[in-house]
């Protein structure tokens, strides 16, 4: 690390798991998450020279989110590829009597993946990446009030899906 700026290797080693988690929660599957992290790390490498020491994880979460949103937009232009929030991509969790914790995580992940992207992204950035409303607003280029509204609606939708799934 030089002057508080990490090397690419340090980012991958120390924050790769964080980046992958954010990518997976956004994308909803491992294959897309791997593509997102791979691309995000390339952008990290290119951007490290300009990185100003601060919230490194906030910066990384922002890059992963940008890559995700770029991919969503690209797929919308090419409808032959499934969107991450395509309901068909939300596979029913595999039942497992001795894997209650895993089952619960799968249920939450499935509900998260079923959220429309405009609600899922603020929820992931707030509750997975631990970003402030202001940081989320800056990342997405929307007002803080919109972040607040989408986050709340997203959580209410999640709660509804989880309660319906448990019923």
């Amino acid at each position: 690390m030089t002057d508080g700026v990490p090397t690419w290797e340090e980012v991958a080693r120390d924050h790769g798991r964080f980046m992958y988690t954010v990518a997976y929660r956004l994308a909803g599957n491992d294959e897309d998450a791997q593509d997102l992290v791979q691309e995000a790390l390339i952008r990290v490498r290119r951007g490290l020279e300009r990185y100003e020491p601060g919230s490194l994880q906030g910066w990384l979460a922002r890059i992963v989110t940008n890559v995700f949103l770029d991919e969503v937009r690209r797929r919308r232009r090419r409808p032959t590829a499934a969107l991450p929030d395509d309901p068909e991509r939300v596979l029913p969790p595999s039942p497992g009597a001795d894997e209650v914790s895993t089952q619960l995580s799968d249920d939450i992940q499935a509900a998260l993946a079923a959220l429309p992207e405009e609600f899922r992204v603020p929820v992931v950035l707030c509750d997975v990446a631990d970003q402030s409303y202001e940081q989320i607003a800056a990342s997405l280029g929307i007002p803080v009030g919109t972040v607040r509204s989408r986050l709340h609606r997203g959580r209410r939708m999640l709660r509804t899906m989880l309660s319906e799934g448990a019923a």
Binding site: A12, R17, F18, T21, A33, V37, V128, Y133, R156
Partner: protein, 163 residues
């Protein structure tokens, strides 16, 4: 003139949970929670969803992912490498990452797994493989080989790195 206080939007409840509301909003929510069963119910539901997502565990990439990331052969970056790759189809790119291609690189992947373990697991000694060369080579080679993910790279660097 007496006036009924303006009722904030319901989304103030999420902001309340996140510590993102104003003092006036917090006071209003506190007052509502003391008197309104409905407000308490909504807050509990939102808190349940929030806590559920926050409790999700960190997700690990498949073990071969990090190895594969480092498995590319470092190649010199051509001086005339295109800076803006042409857009490509992701499905096609994935087909190109078919098992046959990876089988051919199996030996390299196995070796790279060892490298990845050294790099990604904290070690008392610093190991610095030429990852920069790897990624540069990947970016350029991918652009030349129509890799869909890398084709996005130049589009958002400026937006993503400047606050």
């Amino acid at each position: 003139m007496n006036r009924e206080p303006l009722m904030p939007d319901e989304d103030v409840l999420s902001a309340y949970l996140d510590g993102e509301c104003t003092d006036a909003e917090r006071a209003w929510v506190d007052e509502q929670l003391a008197t309104s069963e409905e407000t308490r119910a909504v807050l509990a539901e939102v808190a349940e969803a929030r806590d559920a997502v926050r409790a999700l565990p960190l997700r690990d990439a498949p073990p071969e992912f990090w190895a594969r990331l480092l498995a590319a052969d470092p190649q010199p970056v051509p001086a005339d490498a295109p800076s803006v790759p042409a857009p490509v189809d992701l499905a096609e790119a994935r087909r190109r990452r078919s098992p046959g291609r990876w089988l051919a690189a199996a030996a390299g992947v196995a070796a790279a797994a060892v490298i990845a373990a050294v790099i990604l697991v904290p070690q008392p000694q610093t190991v610095t493989p030429p990852v920069g060369a790897f990624t540069d080579a990947h970016a350029v080679r991918s652009s030349l080989q129509d890799d869909a993910v890398s084709s996005l790279a130049p589009l958002a660097v400026a937006a993503g790195f400047r606050r």
